[in-house]
Symmetry: C2
Subunit: 413 residues, 2 copies
């Protein structure tokens, strides 16, 4: 099936979250993405979570729909193969995506000598060349300081690797922007991004740098409250916890009238001399507002609350674990056209997502599983690298390349 990026070929040398996600996203949009790895698999081949038999669900998730070539890059012949694969001819080829920082044979200066219009997108840790990961960038920028319950003293890390995910998607748009430029101007280039710059820019975009410079107060923790307006979690009579949003005027009015708290909230407004129609006032008075609303939730089951909120078209949700969500929510399974139940070797069967965007000009691309390490070595060497059968056989004989999952190179942890 043709995807929206049909024809585009990207070679990926990567590990961990961001760049594998970028390559996988391009593959799910229809690009031919070739991931190369060492013979024993990449640094991320055993990352958690693992399937019951020990194979990495993480790796399977972030490498869906790619082709895999396994090469011994410690030998010059292996390095030459990768160079030839990255710089292979083709109008829509010559795109290299990486977070491996290898000076010399794998840098832009060297590779672009083999293909002048090469596009190389490199994600680094920070602009000083230091490695950084989501778990170090986040504390350095202050997010853990504003995360967590108001009465909790220490910083609270993100469980979601948000910066990695954002960086991966920024790599995707960088590839597409550079390829657009090449289509028009005929020139390739090096695109350099860093995880820390992506995070720092995002703080700026959200107004947090201006806030830190211009306002004297530190923002502080605000628990599960929606920052800057009203939104709060409440516990219902059955113990279930609900999040409800009063951000826009429509949402706020709907929340007030559904909970029948008009009079008490009007009294709060009179007592404080503040206008609750102002979202900033709702933020400042969130504790008082929550105290007024809480009994309404405490008196009702979460089902009653759900019915009332759906009837009023409020924006709300129920807190649950991922396991509960997967068990209960049809949006997380094959009833949602984005998902398909896939049986994957060594893993088992579970719902696997395709690309989140639905492009109306094409049928939706179904998700394809990740390759076994080296599964496509032979075809890539033939079709892309341009070797003949004798050359390929010789490389296998000498152990410079490997094909799909020989027991000694099994990626299972």
């Amino acid at each position: 099936m043709a995807g929206i990026l049909d024809g585009l070929r990207v070679v990926e040398g990567s590990a961990f979250v961001a760049v594998p996600l970028a390559g996988m996203t391009l593959a799910q949009m229809g690009a031919d993405v070739i991931r190369f790895d060492r013979l024993q698999g990449g640094l991320d081949s055993g990352r958690w979570p693992l399937a019951p038999l020990g194979k990495s669900l993480f790796w399977a998730g972030l490498n869906k729909g790619k082709r895999s070539i396994a090469v011994d890059m410690s030998r010059p012949e292996g390095r030459e193969l990768i160079t030839r694969t990255i710089t292979a001819p083709g109008k829509d080829a010559g795109v290299f995506l990486t977070n491996l920082r290898v000076r010399g044979w794998m840098d832009y200066e060297t590779l672009s000598q083999h293909r002048k219009d090469l596009i190389m997108v490199t994600l680094l840790g920070d602009r000083h060349g230091r490695p950084q990961v989501d778990y170090t960038v986040n504390p350095a920028l202050g997010i853990p300081d504003i995360t967590g319950p108001e009465d909790h003293e220490g910083p609270v890390a993100n469980a979601l690797p948000a910066w990695d995910l954002i960086a991966g998607h920024t790599c995707v748009s960088s590839v597409l922007a550079a390829e657009r430029h090449r289509l028009r101007k005929g020139e390739g280039q090096e695109v350099t991004l860093t995880l820390k710059d992506i995070a720092a820019a995002t703080l700026g975009h959200l107004g947090m740098i201006g806030d830190a410079v211009l306002n004297e107060a530190e923002r502080g923790k605000s628990g599960n409250a929606l920052y800057g307006a009203y939104g709060q979690d409440f516990v219902c009579a059955d113990g279930a916890r609900i999040m409800v949003i009063g951000l826009t005027s429509r949402q706020w009015k709907g929340l007030v009238s559904t909970t029948d708290k008009d009079a008490e909230l009007a009294a709060l407004a009179r007592r404080t001399g503040c206008d609750l129609a102002d979202e900033g006032v709702r933020w400042a008075l969130r504790t008082e507002i929550t105290a007024i609303l809480a009994p309404w939730f405490a008196e009702r089951s979460s089902d009653e609350v759900a019915r009332a909120f759906d009837k009023a078209k409020l924006t709300w949700s129920k807190f649950r674990t991922t396991k509960q969500a997967v068990a209960e929510d049809p949006d997380l399974g094959p009833e949602n056209p984005m998902f398909e139940d896939l049986l994957q070797e060594g893993l088992g069967s579970f719902p696997v997502p395709g690309h989140a965007a639905d492009f109306s000009a094409l049928l939706r691309e179904p998700p394809r599983p990740a390759p076994v390490l080296g599964a496509n070595t032979e075809e890539i060497l033939s079709e892309v690298t341009g070797l003949d059968d004798t050359e390929i056989a010789h490389l296998f004989d000498r152990g410079i390349v490997a094909r799909g999952n020989p027991p000694e190179f099994d990626t299972a942890a």
Copy 2:
């Protein structure tokens, strides 16, 4: 200065985080992005954080480099102007990016009658058409359940609107992918995304859906520990808190030798019969490992720790507040070529980020401030919408459009 997306024109009708971020990102890559708003400004015009005089730093951050047109869309003439602006001719125009769900005049079916090859990228809440925000999607998928200290009972929300940010960047790549398709095939299309699908797909990519289906255990909270390997926060003798990563074999060995805990960790391995070279073992034994390492930090100032870790090239960082980070870290100010100190009217002067990617074929685009509401109404009506001076004057006279910041329509909260 020419940006990497030079020539591309995108019309944006949006509010809040994701789609404004998408338009701003395209603008920072050099696209001509026209944001249209009601005469009184969008729903997000007063969003926190605010500058000392009350103007929104959030809005200023997410609308940098765009042009602004203010139109009364409650009147048919206003709706016609927006239609004409979105569907204006030009090979690189005809791209509409929105999260406003307006059936009828502003839907794809209607707009594409005015321009067959229109690209319309729409971000919705969920696939059922319900509104969702970052604060509702996150609890519904289980992230707050795994966030926070191990001994904390309740869910902990993200302070960073990660899903909105990821959705915004996914909109950017959707625009570029659809435009690439149009360049090649001549056809436009509707691209539909939902915040919840983007989040659900991401859980799948990270292996969390497979984990929920295949493994019986719920993941649970793990405080500030790096999931699945070793990474932990430690308090130093001066009270400062440090995050250090032992994810790869190189990082782990470096951490062990720098803290001189080889013997104690070898004893732990013997006692448990486990091999600490396995990242999953480090995860399982993280509490024991942390107990062994903690005294080393408690005996040293954070400066001593920093020197030792830098010398060993470890991946680590210091926890700080955003205010401290902005005050201390040159990566968050004009010493970093991504930032420039900009003086913005009604806000003040502070470091403002440009696009995080550095495209070597072009000079880096400096950040440009957000427009005042309606600042470009006249030029857009003339250059893009194609009206003559008489028609434009008539629209102003009748109050169907407004120009930059008349006092009665000031966006300040």
